[in-house]
Homo-oligomer: 284 residues x 2
């Protein structure tokens, strides 16, 4: 391990067992501002263990490994870069996603210019130890273009309509559905023609939407009471979730906000666990 | 583009506008078996457009780009490899996540040995065009170790307890919560000591759980009826979602199953859109 990064880690302020203490600035990495979504707490792990961990990574011939930043709440892949030993060490200590810029040949903390840091909650290595996932909460859009993530060019779209330059974020099922619902809401607000879809009907009729949510909750519960097949449970949960997403859309609430609330209530994993130890959670 | 891979693409059977036709095997890539989660349909895009797209990727000095496979329903990062032109072309045509194996210097379709293919629903390029996301549905565990994904080594765990070799999949909020609920369920089944947590109480009392779900659904609906602040809506949705997750746990239903149902009902995006055009979806 490079002496510089070792010194950096050992300069930090907490032992790995101490839980939360008053944050003290590290000698080398200074958070430019407090993140909106997590306090600038630095953790000190045992330097020997950190060195051992950094040794266990299979750095390539250039001393790099792929590093992928993922939104801890939505699962969206925010960006992909490369990390060297120092970048991973810096991410562990500062909890800000840090990469090695191959073009500038230097460390680069995402957000150091834009202030859109990615606040890392946990880090995972893959089975081969040559690929890293930074699981974190972004302070704002990750892409330098202002897009939420760097992945907004769909190959299917590009092959079908390369001229239109349509942009569409890579979205998993829940967020594709959310996005469609928000789109339907916008359509209702701008145009009113043709036979409205069920989603538009729900968006236009609060009473209908509310009664559907209660009805679907009743049907979900019924699958437990009546000991129905688990496929019925999955299907009824799908119905309930869809109708709830319409309500969220109507209230301009994103699923990400709901998940952030749940994470803050329940999170017991990874680096965050250290914090929660002082505030014992008997709920779960 | 290499002549071989170009020939491969042009040998496929569908025009990009035709929607679904009877699948015909490509000349070079033969799906080893039909995937459980999607039929072995091959799509033919305009070969010129495919070549143009492949030209637009910024392949590195070895002709490679990072390729990340992500579960389209859960958002879990399944694995990361590298793709060359031929691997990306093969993925576009076969809809099976295909990589370039640097150790074997050959194309490698994930699943060709294990049968655990990743059925690609859409592909995204990043803003720099040097990183690729394969958004797909895995047929089974992705990792060669049998783990669901390759990312099961938490840096936080490794630094705290490197001896224990505890494995924990990289999970985003919803799936961390799901995992904890399943864990509590297992604990109830094996041991019964100490004061049970709220989750355990719910798991042990179906009537309580059912009444809580109906109550929380009512409170969510109330935030719309009473025009309450959107933060109330997010919080009530969090409550409802948590209690629903407990019910799913009790019925042994995974959130992934629910999302798969929703995707199949609603999916209108990417490569899948081609299919849905023939079965018009007026629901959304």
């Amino acid at each position: 391990m490079a002496a510089a990064s070792f010194a950096r880690l050992s300069s930090l302020s907490f032992s790995s067992r101490d839980g939360i203490k008053t944050p003290r600035k590290p000698k080398v990495f200074r958070p430019i501002r407090a993140s909106s979504s997590s306090p600038p707490i630095e953790l000190r792990f045992d330097p020997k263990k950190v060195e051992c961990l950094l040794d266990s990574v299979k750095w390539d011939e250039k001393g790099l490994a792929v590093a992928i930043a993922q939104n801890v709440d939505t699962g969206a892949i925010l960006m992909q870069g490369f990390a060297n030993r120092e970048a991973l060490a810096a991410t562990i200590s500062s909890q800000k996603a840090t990469f090695y810029s191959r073009s500038r040949s230097s460390l680069w903390t995402k957000g150091e210019t834009s202030m859109n840091f990615i606040n890392v909650k946990d880090i995972f290595l893959d089975c081969d130890r040559d690929s890293i996932v930074y699981l974190g909460k972004p302070d704002g859009p990750t892409c330098h273009t202002g897009a939420e993530t760097c992945y907004y060019s769909s190959v299917a779209d590009l092959l079908e309509e390369p001229q239109t330059k349509k942009e569409r974020l890579a979205s998993t099922t829940l967020y594709s559905l959310e996005s469609t619902i928000f789109q339907r809401k916008a359509e209702i607000e701008t145009t009113q023609n043709g036979k409205p879809s069920w989603t538009k009907k729900l968006l236009s009729n609060e009473q209908l939407l509310c009664s559907k949510i209660l009805e679907e909750a009743g049907e979900l519960v019924q699958t437990l009471k009546e000991n129905e097949d688990k496929s019925r449970t999955a299907s009824e949960m799908g119905d309930l979730l869809y109708h709830c997403l319409v309500l969220l859309g109507l209230k301009d609430v994103k699923v990400e906000e709901v998940l952030e609330i749940l994470r803050k209530r329940f999170s017991q994993s990874g680096i965050e666990e250290k914090r929660s130890r002082l505030t014992k959670n008997h709920f779960l």
